[in-house]
Amino acid sequence: MTLTAVLVLAAGTYAFRLAGPLLRDRVELSARVELLMSTSATVLLFALVATASLTKGQGFAGLALPIGVLVAGVAAWRKAPFVVVVVLAAVTTAGLRFVGVS
């Protein structure tokens, strides 16, 4: 890793980030498009949840990770406080790994 590589990655990432807010400003978005944009963000984030829970690299992540996320998901669905949800995910996954479930 070189400083140049870091700067290129930083500039490119910032360009992606700035493009959205600036584009929004240029064009008047219809209610239809507004809704489509927020649905897109939800779809992307949910896909991120799925891949981060179930995959590691290009393979299966093992059982401990998805079970931890699932337990947290059920807790969130049953209206558990956010902090409890996050801690429950980490504790469940760490506990499963501790007892040998990968």
Binding site: M1, L9, P21, T39, A41, A47, A52, Q58, A72, A89
Partner: protein
Amino acid sequence: MRSTWRTLDAGLLRDVAAVAAGAAVSGASFGAISTGAGLPWWLPVVMSVLVFAGGSQFMAVGVVAAGGSPAAAVLAGLLLNVRHLPFGLAVGDVLGKGLLPRLVGSHLLIDETTAFALAQSDPRKAKAAYWSCGVALFISWNVAVVAGALIGRTIGDPAAFGLDAAFPAALLALLLPALKDRATRHAALLGAAVALATTPFLPAGVPVLFALGGLLVTARQEVER
């Protein structure tokens, strides 16, 4: 801006603190892994301040550590960050008006700030959630990276603490209200299925973008608000 901070309530701050704590441990491990891979201590620090996107940072360092070229590392990192463009289109208006809030706020556009903003129904609360989450994560992430880079490999693997589960769990909890909407839920489930099915065959970052194909199920949906 001042009114934004006044909108903050204790519950929101507690939620933000939980995510920031998780980011701190990940940041410390990023610093430790980077110096462990032979980078000088300041390079992961500069990277964290300027790139501020954990996934792409881990990936870039990982590519180089595995013997890849810096160009390949940059390409992989950028591919992972393309999703920030649709994020900005979705929540771009919560950054605030004026050039400065937009220039600074754009740098804080990450998975967590997007999810926090989307989870609020009131625009003022969305703005408060976006900025408090962004500032808190920027500070906790970067301070932790410095600590990790200096202390080194003693921190070990964040997986042992189950922290790799905390990130998707937090996102999921924030997304649940939006998933109550039928059309959104169907699009998200189809999108996740596409992302999972394509993960073994595509470079990291691309499967998540392919998830946008899930939007096809909402194509005939009428606007309801």
